[in-house]
């Protein structure tokens, strides 16, 4: 990867980190309600995979830890934060919330809050792509714990028998809510499970964005070339609890510290510094600029944005004015 791309990725990942940390603060200030699942620690996963794929062209779907996935696909961070604030200008018009970020224009097909629910939806999008003959691929980002749902097995099986263009990305952060993977899952290397369905797979260091890009390029090329599904496991770690209601007390300090030493943002920063492409002062300036953007542009925008209209409470339940509901012939 060239230096310019590395610097851009560093900015994007640092932005994602600061954005999520600001969500935390807004939640504590009660500006954000509901459940909030944050991404710090896992930034290299979506950034690395989507660097190899085509954001805005390929269809992406994920679970409830979804803010950063949308932003990487091209969603305006203001629209994501406004959604968390429950505003009409939120990317889901304030009807979705943190767990249901949607941006169909950028082919971010949504965050879904039933663990494992997106597997069949991703395979279905791949079926549609194949039927329509496009060169897009369907990418499904989920955590390791989703692989213990029946939909994992059912969906991988169908993706394989019909050779559908779908990439399954498993962000293995070692915990399903608060239960460590070795207590919930008989096979801890998730990529090994794909072989049960004859799906090629690989594993990469999910903390090192360059390693992710490299592994994802192989995966994306495989799927886009019409060879069928692929399964990519990324070993990673989330710094915070599963959601805001969970402080992550089930993990040892030593474990958290060990992962913190391999922080995806700092790994890339240090690599650039070691190569003489960046110095501490430049990095701090970048960080300050990001913090200013969030504080001076995004937050004031959300504070000032309008709430959804109560008169529109029942809009978007069903299609509006559909002639076939009335049985009108075309």
């Amino acid at each position: 990867m060239n230096i310019a791309d590395q610097k851009r990725l560093l900015r994007e990942m640092l932005f994602a980190r600061r954005f999520e940390e600001r969500c935390y603060e807004a939640y504590v200030e009660r500006k954000i309600g509901g459940f909030l699942h944050l991404y710090p620690g896992q930034e290299a996963c979506v950034h690395g995979v989507m660097e190899a794929a085509r954001p805005g062209h390929d269809y992406v779907i994920t679970g409830y830890r979804d803010h950063v996935h949308a932003i990487k696909c091209g969603t305006d961070p203001k629209a994501v934060m406004a959604e968390l604030y429950g505003k009409e200008s939120g990317c889901s018009r304030g009807r979705g919330g943190s767990m249901h970020i949607f941006d169909v224009e950028h082919r971010f097909m949504g965050g879904y809050a039933l663990v494992g629910g997106p597997f069949p939806l991703a395979v279905g999008m791949a079926k549609a792509i194949k039927l329509k003959g496009g060169d897009e691929i369907s990418i499904c980002f989920l955590g390791d714990a989703a692989n213990n749902q029946g939909t994992f097995h059912e969906s991988l099986n169908m993706a394989a028998i019909w050779e559908l263009p779908v990439l399954f990305v498993c962000e293995n952060n070692l915990y399903g809510i608060g239960t460590r993977i070795d207590r919930s899952t008989s096979i801890q290397d998730q990529h090994k499970r794909a072989c049960a369905y004859g799906i090629p797979s690989a594993v990469a260091d999910g903390q090192d964005v360059e390693a992710v890009v490299e592994a994802a390029q192989v995966a994306v090329d495989h799927v886009r070339s019409g060879k069928g599904p692929y399964f990519l496991e990324l070993k990673t770690y989330r710094y915070r609890g599963h959601s805001m209601s969970d402080a992550g007390a089930y993990r040892t300090k030593e474990e958290q510290q060990a992962w913190g030493e391999r922080d995806p943002v700092l790994l890339l920063r240090d690599r650039l510094i070691a190569a003489g492409e960046m110095d501490e002062a430049t990095y701090r300036a970048l960080d300050q600029a990001i913090l200013r953007e969030i504080e001076e542009e995004i937050i004031p925008y959300c504070e000032a944005a309008a709430d959804p209209k109560v008169e529109e409470l029942t809009r978007y339940v069903l299609a509006e004015n559909d002639p076939y509901v009335r049985g009108e012939a075309p």
């Binding site: 269809y59 949607f102 224009e105 549609a128 339940v317 076939y324 049985g327």
Partner: protein
């Protein structure tokens, strides 16, 4: 006007819609090479090929979810779930994905899928193959539920459901696939909302849907012939949203009501129609509304027990005659 069977009417709707639009596909267990358990997709595999007529693994939740995901990108899947008992397994994807995606995306995404599935008691199929689940589906916002009582509706409702932009659940009945009826030669797009007065009468309204429309019609004949009671029969072919205005209008004419349903009584079509009557025309009533439902049991196997569990026309007649004090 041709006479055809219920399954033939469903098959015709598939064939026409798939011939018209290459993005209409159908999928389900044994629907392709085998032509479907109830023959509703017979011959389509040879005509449209395996990419569009898909024999699925026995994975109801995920193949339904697959259809829903495909619909996000403009494909129009007609999903057959072999028995409504198996549709329980797919309720996660139907309720959590199809029914909610328009709303939770703020109107950006829609899931124009059709899910067809037969329920009901057939011939001693036992507890896990005889369930009626319409009560569950009709309670979910964002999902349309229709239920054809004859071949014309089976054809026309499926035609409209395929083209409608909402997810539509079509509740069929295992005992009705061989029922004959007239279907127009020209294309028919049946409304997905409403109800139909299938027999006029002034003394009481008998509400039915799907198979219970036929029990109500038989009961109306007996009531007229033997008891001098003229019953109006209303076919509730739409279970969600129920036709509030149609229900109100009929009860306002007859001042009495009975709802016939094959399902167990609790939290069902009968209780919901009674609530609508209460809300819209309570003061028009001459007597408390009645319902005739199945016994509150998992469906038994033994022939005599099964027969005793399921209501029929005689049960409707008895309830009506009693309420008239005759």
């Amino acid at each position: 006007m041709a006479e055809m069977m219920y399954w033939e009417a469903i098959r015709r709707a598939h064939d026409e819609e798939m011939s018209r639009d290459p993005l209409v596909i159908c999928m389900g267990e044994d629907i392709g090479i085998a032509g479907g358990t109830y023959k509703a997709t017979q011959g389509l595999y040879d005509k449209f090929g395996p990419e569009r007529v898909i024999d699925t693994p026995i994975s109801e939740n995920s193949f339904t979810g697959l259809g829903i995901g495909a619909s996000f990108l403009g494909v129009r899947p007609i999903i057959e779930i072999m028995s409504v008992n198996f549709a329980w397994l797919a309720t996660d994807q139907i309720f959590n994905s199809a029914a909610k995606v328009r709303y939770m995306s703020g109107g950006q995404l829609e899931a124009p899928v059709v899910i067809r599935s037969p329920g009901g008691s057939a011939h001693q199929l036992g507890a896990q193959h005889s369930a009626r689940m319409e009560k569950v589906f009709m309670g979910i916002a964002g999902l349309r539920v229709v239920t054809p009582s004859n071949p014309r509706q089976a054809y026309g409702l499926l035609k409209s459901a395929v083209r409608c932009n909402d997810p539509v659940f079509i509740y069929e009945h295992e005992l009705m696939y061989n029922m004959k009826g007239e279907v127009p030669d020209e294309e028919l797009f049946h409304p997905l909302e409403g109800s139909e007065v299938v027999r006029s009468g002034r003394d009481i309204t008998l509400f039915g849907y799907n198979i219970s429309v036929h029990w109500a019609l038989q009961a109306a004949e007996i009531l007229s012939r033997q008891h001098g009671i003229e019953a109006e029969v209303v076919d509730l072919y739409t279970l969600s949203p129920l036709d509030r205005e149609g229900i109100r209008a009929s009860v306002s004419r007859t001042h009495r009501a009975l709802i016939a349903e094959e399902a167990e009584p609790a939290v069902g079509v009968g209780s919901e129609v009674m609530a609508i009557i209460n809300e819209t025309c309570f003061f028009e009533l001459d007597a408390p509304p009645l319902r005739v439902s199945s016994a509150n049991v998992p469906q038994p196997y033994a022939h005599n027990l099964e027969k005793a569990a399921i209501p029929n026309a005689q049960d409707i007649v008895r309830a009506v005659v009693q309420s008239f004090g005759r």
